[in-house]
């Protein structure tokens, strides 16, 4: 269950959603199986972060956004077929 948000999104929330959209778009260019895998990994990761990360923890959120953007760029490269997850302790 994601954090509840009012009708107006903060700038940071918009960036998160925009990144999520980017992943969904990139996933649509892959095969159906890859797409499902990407969607499930990305959606689980974003939701886990939205539950575990304090919304006021801007530094960490911005770090996650930067990391996510790099992963998206890698995904969009024609050499990449799918995402793999790294475990974080």
């Amino acid at each position: 269950m994601g954090a509840s948000r009012g009708p107006r999104l903060s700038g940071l929330q918009k960036q998160v959603l925009s990144l999520y959209r980017g992943f969904l778009r990139a996933a649509r260019c892959k095969s159906a199986a890859d797409r499902r895998q990407i969607e499930s990994i990305v959606s689980a990761e974003f939701r886990r972060n939205s539950n575990q990360v304090d919304r006021k923890n801007f530094l960490y959120i911005e770090y996650l956004l930067r990391r996510g953007k790099k992963q998206l760029e890698q995904l969009q490269s024609p050499n990449t077929e799918s995402l793999s997850q790294t475990k974080q302790s």
């Binding site: 269950m1 994601g2 954090a3 509840s4 948000r5 009708p7 999104l9 929330q13 918009k14 959603l17 925009s18 999520y20 959209r21 969904l24 778009r25 649509r28 959606s43 974003f46 939701r47 939205s50």
Partner: protein
């Protein structure tokens, strides 16, 4: 209504809870990530483009239907 049925078929949605005046979050328990997915599914199904800042404010079924209908006249 084809737009409502796309929403009903959406993976996280309970089709019995979908009403024309429903709120994605309040009635269907969806979060912002789901809204993004729904808008993308509607875009794919009905073939329109929506700028991110407009997509981010769609949080009721009514808004989604109105937006889709107004952007695909003739579909």
């Amino acid at each position: 209504d084809p737009i409502i049925s796309v929403i009903k078929n959406f993976q996280n949605v309970d089709p019995f809870k979908v009403t024309t005046n429903g709120h994605f979050q309040i009635d269907l328990g969806l979060d912002n990530l789901d809204f993004v997915e729904i808008v993308m599914a509607l875009k794919e199904e009905f073939g329109f483009e929506i700028p991110d800042n407009e997509a981010d404010i769609i949080n009721t079924i009514n808004m989604a239907v109105n937006f889709t209908a107004s952007h695909c006249q003739g579909n």
